[in-house]
């Protein structure tokens, strides 16, 4: 479904990523692992369409459609979701108000009527419950005064609301306690069963006890040095990334 082929990405004329090949099918979980500073976040930015990141070569397709000419929001409308490592804060805009804008922006593209308030609230409450967030969160400013864990649960909540085709999840496990990790693991599994394909970006596989990846990719110095099964993650856990250095 998501096909990344021979992708090379530069920032300010400096090549950061080269020869990235990843293909994620519906309901698959891929894990991209690598130490800090190898280009993991660059890949996220390139996938979502940040214009500060230049695609030098290669292709990016979702369900056969070329994503490269599309704007950030157009890619989102195609079903690409990014759960951010550091979600922004928008004071004065309640989470609920934001969810409404988000859900209806997607519905508009699909030529659907805006969701009525009652139906929206029902969906949001369900997603909040699955994300372990209490209702009072819905009326607070978007991520305003949220703890790190709460922000990440909020990312999960949005992901559950949108049921994307592909979700890129950037370091969502860092700084989470066991309970939060479990909730997010369950949320991802729930979506996986509905067919969402995942690219989980991490430098350490904290959540392997909750999720079983279909593939693991090791990213070092801007290249995928090895792709394989869950055993690669075990190798990282036991020996660190050095084992993969050429």
């Amino acid at each position: 479904m998501l096909e990344i082929q021979s992708l090379a990405v530069s920032v300010a004329n400096k090549t950061i990523l080269e020869a990235i090949d990843i293909t994620i099918n519906a309901g698959e979980i891929h894990v991209l692992m690598g130490p800090n500073g190898v280009g993991k976040s660059t890949l996220t930015r390139a996938l979502l369409g940040d214009t500060g990141y230049t695609i030098e070569s290669g292709s990016l397709r979702l369900g056969g459609l070329d994503l490269l000419p599309l704007s950030i929001e157009q890619r989102a409308h195609q079903g690409l979701f990014v759960a951010f490592q550091h979600p922004v804060t928008i004071p004065g805009v309640s989470n609920l108000q934001f969810y409404k804008a988000m859900v209806n922006a997607h519905r508009q593209v699909q030529n659907l009527e805006p969701l009525d308030a009652i139906e929206l609230l029902a969906q949001v409450k369900q997603a909040a419950k699955q994300s372990g967030l209490t209702e009072d969160f819905l009326y607070r400013g978007l991520n305003d005064g949220f703890s790190g864990g709460e922000k990440k649960r909020n990312e999960l909540l949005q992901m559950l609301l949108l049921s994307p085709r592909i979700a890129v999840v950037d370091e969502i496990d860092s700084g989470l306690d066991v309970d939060a990790l479990k909730i997010i693991g369950q949320g991802i599994r729930h979506l996986q069963q509905q067919g969402t394909g995942f690219l989980l970006i991490t430098h350490y596989p904290h959540w392997l006890e909750y999720l079983t990846p279909d593939q693991v990719h090791i990213l070092l110095a801007g290249r995928i040095v090895q792709s394989g099964g869950v055993e690669l993650a075990d190798q990282v856990a036991n020996q660190g990334f050095q084992a993969f250095a050429a």
């Binding site: 940040d50 409308h77 922004v88 928008i90 004071p91 004065g92 805009v93 804008a101 922006a105």
Partner: protein, 482 residues
């Protein structure tokens, strides 16, 4: 940065270039201002002599005054002798017969703002005859007010009907010699509203619907007077979210509010006059003096304003807190884009004991615009225990605009408390990126951030209007990203 040619700006321009044709044949005085013109103007309005004398005295003072130069606004000098100070209202025959004759792009804006059809007709200047809904709405409105004993009429009518009230209150809060534009207004004021709420009466309606229906031709030198007797309450809404047409470039309005013991006046404004084109040509110069007098003990006056229009906004709705325990509030959102200039804020003059004031100002600048908050908090020696809280926030969109904050504090009294907070922020690229990733168009994303920024002020607006204000922000900032 504001993209140059948005739909909104285009049709604003079209509409103004297609503005009313002045009806020269009938009731229009020649351009220029002198004693004869004022006498003629007063005679045409069949005013009593006390008003004529009041106008003439104001004119004498105005002749000795100079336009204020301290505001953070630039414009070429205004030639006051080239302005026509009286022209009769347009006859129905000169107006469009129906909405079919009105610029479709204008109608589109009304649609976007969700303006009901009958109001669209009023705003577009369609000749409305007596069968239309609007008139029956207005009649019902008048009946309800009359039953409550509330007087609500044009000030020209009040001058004839209620001379004792006019004599007691006109110019009491904003004296004719107060400032250059107030003096000009006193000399030549066209018309405006008069509201009198008797003792103990809570005005049963928001004085808004009626006003909006009747707002089509208020004129450029509007004068409004609102008196709230002891223990009364009134909420008054001026203006409209729909862009207003006017062929006059200079506006100099005066609004006076008087609240007696335990009375409360809530005055909300939405100002959306023509702001000029994307090059900064044309647009209304809006020089307004608005002041409330909390004359009585525990009286309260709140100003809420949403300022999105005009090429120049010069406006400082103020409160004189004379009664002990009186409360003054100022909530403001001022949006500037293209080459608009806004110098706006408030004055809170604490005279009575334990008086309190709150100032919450939100400035949003885009394009090449300039947005200035200017506020004075003055604690007189008599104002023991007075308190003020001021918060001024500025939001910048793009790199070409600027925001200034000039808070003046004169605190003579030791037991008073004055707190001031100010922030300036830019809409962060990261915020836009995040919202776009969630499927919002860049303009929707900006509108959402801006609405969040303005929330505390919008909450002060009458309910039905808060929704319109949100839409207005979105329409006002169209084309400001990218």
């Amino acid at each position: 940065m504001c993209a140059a040619n948005t739909d909104l700006q285009q049709h604003l321009q079209q509409r103004y270039s297609a503005g009313f044709v002045t009806d020269i044949e009938t009731d229009t005085l020649p351009a220029g201002l002198n004693e004869t013109v004022i006498r003629q103007l007063s005679a045409k309005k069949q005013e009593p002599e006390y008003i004529l004398n009041w106008r003439l005295q104001a004119f004498q003072r105005w002749c000795k005054m100079k336009p204020p130069a301290w505001a953070q606004v630039q414009h070429t000098p205004i030639d006051f002798q080239s302005i026509v100070y009286y022209s009769s209202p347009k006859s129905l025959a000169d107006r469009p017969k129906s909405l079919d004759e009105v610029d479709p792009e204008l109608l589109q804006t009304y649609e976007k703002l969700g303006i009901p059809l009958y109001e669209q007709e009023m705003l577009a200047g369609v000749a409305v005859d007596a069968i239309f809904d609007s008139v029956s709405v207005a009649t019902t409105f008048k009946d309800t007010l009359a039953k409550a004993g509330v007087i609500f009429c044009p000030i020209s009518e009040a001058i004839q009907q209620y001379p004792e009230l006019i004599k007691a209150y006109l110019g009491r809060v904003v004296p004719p010699g107060d400032n250059f534009y107030a003096a000009l207004n006193a000399a030549v004021f066209s018309d405006g509203s008069f509201v009198y709420v008797p003792e103990g009466v809570r005005c049963p309606l928001e004085l808004s619907t009626y006003f909006r229906i009747n707002a089509a031709n208020t004129g450029q030198f509007e004068r409004t007077l609102i008196i709230a007797e002891k223990g009364s309450y009134v909420s008054y809404l001026e203006g409209c979210t729909a862009p207003m047409r006017d062929e006059n470039q200079l506006h100099a309005a005066v609004v006076e509010l008087v609240a007696l013991d335990d009375a409360e006046i809530k005055y909300s404004t939405v100002q959306n006059w023509y702001p000029g084109d994307e090059q900064g040509r044309g647009g209304i110069y809006n020089f307004v003096t608005k002041r409330g007098l909390c004359a009585g003990t525990r009286s309260k006056i709140s100003w809420t304003q949403i300022e999105t229009g005009s090429a120049i906004t010069w406006k400082y709705p103020s409160v004189i807190l004379r009664g002990d325990h009186a409360i003054g509030e100022f909530f403001s959102v001022a949006v500037t884009r293209n080459y608009q200039q806004a110098d706006t804020g408030t004055k809170m003059i604490h005279v009575g004991k334990n008086t309190r004031s709150t100032i919450l100002s939100k400035g949003i600048s885009a394009g090449k615009s300039q947005n200035t908050y200017r506020g004075l908090v003055k604690l007189n020696p008599t104002a023991t225990g007075a308190r003020n809280y001021t918060q001024c926030d500025s939001l910048l969109i793009g790199d070409g605009c600027s925001a200034n904050t000039f808070p003046y504090i004169e605190a003579g009294e030791y037991s008073g408390t004055v707190e001031h907070e100010a922030t300036t922020s830019k809409i962060a690229d990261e915020q836009l990126l995040y919202l776009q990733q969630r499927g919002l168009e860049p303009e929707q994303a900006v509108a959402l951030v801006v609405n969040g920024f303005c929330k505390d002020v919008f909450e002060q607006l009458p309910m039905e209007f808060a929704v319109e204000a949100n839409r207005l922000m979105q329409v006002s900032l169209e084309g400001c990203v990218g």
